[in-house]
Symmetry: C2
Subunit: 242 residues, 2 copies
């Protein structure tokens, strides 16, 4: 757990030895989630933060008629409910896509850590700010792009983020993306039928494939053009110290 969190924070923030040591003393306990299981629901007031250790979790809101809208997806090292540290009531739910393992870290322990090591607090603040930057991009994507570009942009983002822990971000390769087409529809705001036809259309471009929860990128440059994808908004590297 500790190494996962430390690596994530160090991807964009400088932590000194004392910060790292303090991180290593954070208490937590693991929790295993089945496919589709909720880690936390809208309206609840959690007293622990979630750190994804394995698998993928998603944030979603439930609409008045029961439909779901997915908001974001999170992989190993991410803190999908960091905002709950300061916003007591959850305005959305978090569920597992496929089996997942998460660590539950008591809010209290994090808050005292922030007092003792402000650098850690700032790193997590930055984490939440990157989260918000991704939300902004999602607003633009779902509101303004036609289905093909919208789906392409989504695939680009997931692929780029999944591989950013390694050095080779773009280029050919695969990553895990364990969604159904129906869930992708609830992500991009399109009907299942349109999702299906759009994905087929994307496949025909020869830039990517997506099967059995695995996204395969065959021509990154072309896919990025189709999706108008510019990774600047992911703020992958912006170290700054107080």
């Amino acid at each position: 757990m500790h190494v996962v969190l430390r690596q994530k924070l160090q991807a964009h923030s400088a932590l000194d030895a004392d910060d790292a040591a303090a991180l290593n003393r954070l208490p937590y306990h693991d929790r295993h989630l089945a496919n589709g299981e909720d880690a936390i629901c809208q309206g609840e007031r959690p007293d622990s933060a979630i750190l994804v250790l394995e698998g993928m979790v998603a944030r979603y809101q439930t609409l008045a008629d029961g439909r779901r809208q997915f908001i974001s997806f999170h992989i190993t090292g991410e803190l999908p409910d960091a905002q709950a540290l300061f916003l007591t009531e959850m305005d959305h739910s978090i569920c597992a896509l496929g089996p997942a393992v998460i660590a539950m870290i008591p809010h209290e322990a994090l808050l005292t850590l922030f007092m003792r090591r402000p650098g850690v607090g700032l790193a997590i603040w930055r984490e939440t700010l990157i989260d918000a930057a991704i939300f902004r991009s999602t607003i633009v994507n779902n509101s303004a792009r036609a289905p093909l570009a919208r789906a392409a942009h989504f695939f680009c983002e997931q692929y780029y983020r999944a591989r950013s822990r390694f050095s080779r971000r773009g280029e050919v390769g695969t990553c895990s993306l364990p969604l159904s087409q129906a869930q992708l529809g609830d992500t991009l705001g399109m009907s299942i039928v349109t999702v299906n036809r759009t994905v087929q259309q994307l496949r025909r471009t020869g830039t990517m494939d997506w099967n059995d929860g695995v996204l395969q990128v065959k021509n990154w440059a072309k896919l990025a053009v189709l999706g108008e994808f510019d990774p600047a908004y992911l703020h992958a590297r912006a170290p700054r110290r107080l």
Copy 2:
């Protein structure tokens, strides 16, 4: 300037006397913006944060074909680019809707303030988290709701936020909303024609009117139902201290 910021932060965070005093010593300078003028553009690396003093400003992204997608709107007391404190490069632009006055507060002064008065830093952190909560809601609204509900929800949010500085949030009344229909289209992801017809449809419900940049709510309860509006996501009150 100082009183505007202090009131905003105290709306959701407890500040002690020393925090307030430190806020009052923040340096800044005013800047007047003409209608449509950009306060800051995508790609820039600001060294000051923006605080809205008068009027309204909007965040937006520019798409590959030059179209605009508005992301959020900000009124007196809000910090529309607080994230730039820790994410150096702007991933969006900020412009004025109608004439506006903003205060520019040097990042350096804010960062040293956070070191001396962590409570102020936390208050602004919470501010950015509420920002993100609004983004989540916008994703849901623009992705999943039909035009009428989408527009109704948008009007509800703007009205509720504009009036939250006073005690009477819901109920009958007016607030400033100086957008054109075309700009509302670039906000909700609808064409001008659809915006026009949707607004007319909303007017016919008798719940609201919107003319000359003024939003008038005539039947708050019914409008909130039309827009499926639940203000919980605005986290208007959630005081918590370290």
